[in-house]
């Protein structure tokens, strides 16, 4: 294993990341070959290389599958990174992107928008459901941030308590909205809460990227400091880490990342828990490599799961959030048992 030998070098990382990047690209491309409607592999290749193919197939591959696969790659990657960051920030291996109430806040916003019949209006690439989801997430992020930051110090315990409590409050409010809303709306609400990448066009990518790119970049610059935090806040401060700044950046960027994804894809579970664990187990806990690997690994996992979810159950389609939990849960248990031995 790489870490027994010792140090992470730039060359080492370049090899690891180009390997992961190539696999990511290959799986992403592969996902374009499957779907509810079958398109001959030869046609997919011709379409991707700009050759002649039936107009209907071009539409399916380029306008439906391609944006969906890209969203799967980005959303899975973002959830993987956010999961790894929250696990480091809380020093808790059970943390997920949804632990700190961000997703529940986003869900509350989305559910409100659906219940209030606000699906139609849009602003730029955003639908009003997405905007409400983002707003709900921001409210929770703001409250948790203020509660967890106590006299300039960020305590993981306060963060956890505040985040989990906000999540529970948001969930209770969702129940309340469901209780008073029109029963016909409940189907849509439930469908949103299952999480999925369906009915997405390139529009969703445009809605996600402006938040995702800066958040991921900020988190990557703090990867080194996150390693230091794993020995505790005082130890990190003694090493020269600006602990309150790193904690605030990790929390805010991780939360924004989660909010961006949840607002377009709903609360997709298990990616953010399982991907960091598996990759940490294989490649070691060094966040400088781990965050990159989680981005690629999460993308591969989610885009792959979504391809199965939309192909295997044709003509209907399984929400990918259901599949990730159904596959991810048992897989995680196996991991737990074999690791404990």
């Amino acid at each position: 294993m790489t870490r027994a030998k010792g140090y992470l070098s730039a060359g080492h990382m370049a090899v690891m990341l180009s390997g992961a990047g190539l696999l990511w690209l290959a799986i992403g491309l592969g996902c374009l070959f499957w779907g509810q409607v079958s398109v001959a592999p030869g046609d997919v290749v011709r379409i991707l290389t700009g050759g002649e193919a039936p107009a209907q197939d071009v539409n399916i591959v380029l306008m439906q599958r391609l944006p969906r696969v890209l969203l799967g790659l980005l959303a899975g990657g973002a959830l993987g990174v956010a999961g790894a960051v929250f696990q480091a920030l809380l020093r808790n291996p059970l943390a997920t992107p949804h632990t700190l109430g961000v997703s529940a806040g986003a869900a509350l916003g989305a559910v409100l928008a659906i219940a209030l019949n606000l699906e139609a209006p849009r602003a730029g690439p955003f639908t009003s459901v997405q905007l409400f989801a983002l707003a709900g997430a921001l409210v929770d992020i703001g409250i948790v941030y203020l509660l967890a930051r106590h006299r300039d110090v960020f305590s993981p315990l306060r963060l956890l308590l505040a985040g989990v409590t906000l999540g529970l409050i948001s969930s209770a409010l969702i129940m309340f909205v469901r209780f008073i809303s029109d029963p016909q709306k409940l189907v849509m609400v439930d469908r949103w809460l299952m999480g999925g990448l369906d009915v997405q066009g390139f529009r969703s990518l445009a809605a996600v990227l402006p938040l995702l790119v800066p958040a991921v970049l900020i988190l990557l610059t703090e990867a080194d400091a996150m390693n230091q935090l794993s020995l505790g806040e005082e130890m990190a401060a003694g090493r020269g880490v600006d602990v309150p700044k790193v904690q605030a950046e990790a929390f805010l960027a991780g939360s924004v990342l989660t909010a961006a994804i949840v607002s377009v894809a709903g609360p997709i579970g298990f990616v953010g828990l399982i991907v960091p664990h598996v990759l940490r187990g294989i490649f070691g806990p060094d966040h400088r490599a781990l965050l990159f690997l989680c981005f690629f690994g999460g993308g591969i996992f989610l885009a792959g799961a979504d391809t199965v979810a939309r192909s295997a159950f044709a003509p209907s389609e399984l929400p990918v959030g259901v599949l990730t939990a159904m596959v991810g849960g048992p897989f995680f248990l196996v991991l737990l048992v074999t690791k404990i031995r």
Partner: protein, 267 residues
């Protein structure tokens, strides 16, 4: 006399809204000295150590590192000269021992923290110096208490500070491992590093420290050589107990005991 590496002058500190934990404390740390901070529970030892490390800003007084006010320095700049080892650092995520030691290089490295040849040499020497080479490939969380402490000390050696501050470095160790760690710190001080350790163990302080600061209720009751501070009347007053000071027949340093009630019963 040489300039102090680290100098605390007239420092007072209280936690928000609370009582004073430190009042008008002064202490200098010189190169090549082991300084012990001793005193009863709640006398402000750990608070003083954190003020000295620049982790807690004093309400009054000044802390100077290498002559410059520590508050005017960036955290990394401080960490290149001063290392701080808390009592029981967290241990998450199973980093390998070599990785933990390499983390000590953090304040010296640029973005993303890749080690140069020189950094690798420093880390490897720190492993050798602390006899941790056989542990280097193991996961830090699997180590025993004594091994962990050695590895953590290796990591602050790799940090290449001129001053090391340690909070109860031997608290969780048996007598063999405690002596090993104290020997190691003593050896480091002979290379010119200023070592400051908070400890409850007055006998260890007598044996290994060049100077001892005895704290009492947030103030310095006395600073001096172990022989000057380990004064039977002074210790009895500060600790509120019947303290006896004898002479250690092996090391010729003060030997501090509290006879307790059983001793009276026996006599």
């Amino acid at each position: 006399m040489t300039e102090p590496l680290l100098s605390v002058h007239g420092c007072s500190f209280r936690y928000h809204g609370g009582d004073f934990r430190l009042q008008d404390v002064s202490l200098d740390v010189y190169p090549g000295q082991v300084v012990g901070i001793v005193g009863p529970n709640g006398s402000g030892k750990s608070t003083l150590l954190r003020v000295m490390a620049g982790l807690l800003p004093p309400d009054a007084g000044s802390v100077r590192l290498g002559g410059a006010p520590i508050r005017s320095m960036g955290r990394r700049q401080v960490a290149r000269r001063l290392a701080f080892l808390p009592q029981s650092p967290e241990t998450s995520f199973g980093f390998a021992v070599r990785e933990v030691v390499a983390m000590g290089r953090y304040p010296h490295l640029g973005a993303f923290g890749f080690l140069t040849e020189r950094d690798v040499g420093i880390v490897e020497r720190a492993l050798v110096e602390t006899a941790s080479v056989p542990l280097a490939g193991r996961s830090f969380v699997t180590l025993s208490g004594g091994e962990r402490q050695r590895v953590l000390i290796a990591s602050i050696i790799a940090q290449e500070p001129s001053v090391m501050l340690l909070d109860e470095p031997t608290a969780a160790l048996d007598i063999h491992h405690a002596a090993e760690v104290l020997d190691l710190l003593w050896a480091l001080s002979r290379k010119g590093i200023g070592v400051v350790a908070v400890t409850h163990d007055l006998n260890a302080a007598s044996q290994f420290c060049d100077r001892v600061a005895l704290l009492s209720c947030g103030g310095v009751a006395r600073t001096g050589t172990p022989a000057e501070v380990m004064d039977q009347a002074l210790l009895s007053r500060v600790y509120g107990a019947d303290v006896r000071v004898l002479r250690n027949p092996v090391t010729s340093t003060p030997l501090v005991i509290v006879p307790g009630r059983t001793a009276h019963d026996a006599s």
